[in-house]
């Protein structure tokens, strides 16, 4: 196996939301295969600055797969070819010498480009603010068995709570739908007693906000779940639909 590779990098450059974008090609030479994808982008930027050019703007923060900031669309996949991993957890050993690697921003009407590969995901914050919380004090801890919660429900709630809100589901979806994100956020509360009190109001408010912000609808393609770095399951969307139907029926 090569310890370093050389490749072509096709990167989307766009000055701002209103400017016309274009692909720029950069030759990357002798990049060690144990470099992470974002470190490789850092190397590119250092080289660009050295030449007096503007570096490529991209989002990143924790670089350990938990913050949900990194958001590159690599070779047609959100977070690149690895499954169950974010862009920051992607390493150059996934690529071969002589490859052409294409890097794009998340593309969705609800995520306008700020610059280059950085998009504005404020729409997710707005959906969360519409109902993704419990608004009352639950008081002190109950006796251990006062409110029984099944192991299955606890596990499912925990699994859906692992959504990091990165937006890969929206980027992967041909409709630009945020249903997987929304369903994870609704499910983590719907499965637990402290979430039930506000369940109806929550699901209606969050769905209304999603529609208002220009996200598309779900056609059960499943691309979102296939690309999700946290493996959020498609069954959450079924739960979301059921929650919504029940809430609407009881209006």
């Amino acid at each position: 196996m090569d310890t370093s590779i050389s490749f072509k990098l096709k990167v989307w450059r766009q000055a701002n939301a209103h400017a016309e974008g274009r692909f720029e090609t950069y030759e990357m030479r002798d990049i060690p295969t144990d470099t992470s994808f974002l470190e490789m982008m850092d190397i590119l930027n250092e080289q660009l600055i050295e030449k007096g050019e503007e570096p490529v703007t991209f989002d990143h923060d924790c670089r350990e797969g938990i913050c949900g900031m990194c958001s590159l669309y690599v070779n047609g996949h959100p977070h690149g070819p690895a499954t169950g991993a974010t862009t920051c957890q992607l390493y150059m050993r996934r690529f071969k010498d002589g490859d052409t690697i294409t890097v794009e921003p998340w593309r969705s009407a609800a995520f306008p480009v700020i610059k280059d590969l950085m998009v504005n995901r404020n729409a997710f914050d707005q959906i969360q603010q519409a109902g993704g919380y419990v608004s009352f004090q639950t008081g002190g801890a109950q006796d251990a068995n006062a409110i029984p919660i099944s192991k299955d429900a606890a596990d499912e709630a925990m699994d859906s709570a692992t959504c990091i809100g990165c937006g890969a589901c929206v980027a992967a979806c041909k409709n630009g739908s945020a249903m997987l994100f929304l369903s994870a956020k609704v499910s983590q509360f719907a499965l637990l007693p402290q979430g039930r009190a506000e369940a109806k109001r929550r699901v209606k408010a969050m769905l209304a906000k999603m529609d208002e912000l220009g996200f598309g609808n779900c056609t059960n393609t499943g691309a979102c779940a296939a690309e999700c770095p946290k493996n959020i399951k498609l069954s959450n969307i079924a739960r979301l639909n059921r929650e919504f139907l029940c809430a609407k029926c009881s209006d």
Partner: protein, 236 residues
Amino acid sequence: MSCRPASRVQTSIKGLFAIGECNFSDHGANRLGASALMQGLADGYFVLPYTIQNYLSDQITVPHFSTDTPEFDAAEKKVQANLDHLMSIHGKRSVDSIHKELGNVMWDYVGMARTKESLETALKKLKELRKEFETNLFIPGTQEGMNVELDKAFRLRDFITMGELIAYDALNRHESCGGHFREEHQTEEGEAKRDDENFFYVACWKYNGDDETAPTLIKEPLHYEAIKVQTRNYKS
């Protein structure tokens, strides 16, 4: 600025709360990683809802602040001058390359084990690094719109000052204490040797105008009422 639990974690600056990782009300001075995260979570879920609301509930009577004041104008002018300065250096070095050099200086000379010599070397190198930053930095692009390099440069200047502050404080503290291990001050068995007679205080450093001149020390003495201060001992 000071903060006591009795003040509902509000600092001596009204409306500024010391909460999350910087709060140390629950388990002593905060350590890295999990305990700091725990404090962030615990404060967010349980402490903040009971502390900040009293402050916020009064705010309804406070009118919106006007930006039409001489203080605002002065602050805006200062920030703009800073921006103009950073953009006009037109040097050779990227923000990241200077940041990495800062990291190396801190790692090599202000690590967990430090000496008088290493700290003096660090202070000298940090002064040179600040000069490099001020005279040889290159920020591509413009001030308008998103400019990540300009954003990073603003932070890096603070990091250099912060690094210097750590070195000043470590140089002043002629004892070993907690995560501060001065190699000159250790027991025969290589354990940290405290000097409670001379250093039983929290050090606050006051900057006088600019970052170039050394800050002055203000001592906040420690008072323990319930416990007797002892040396930590893992052996017996």
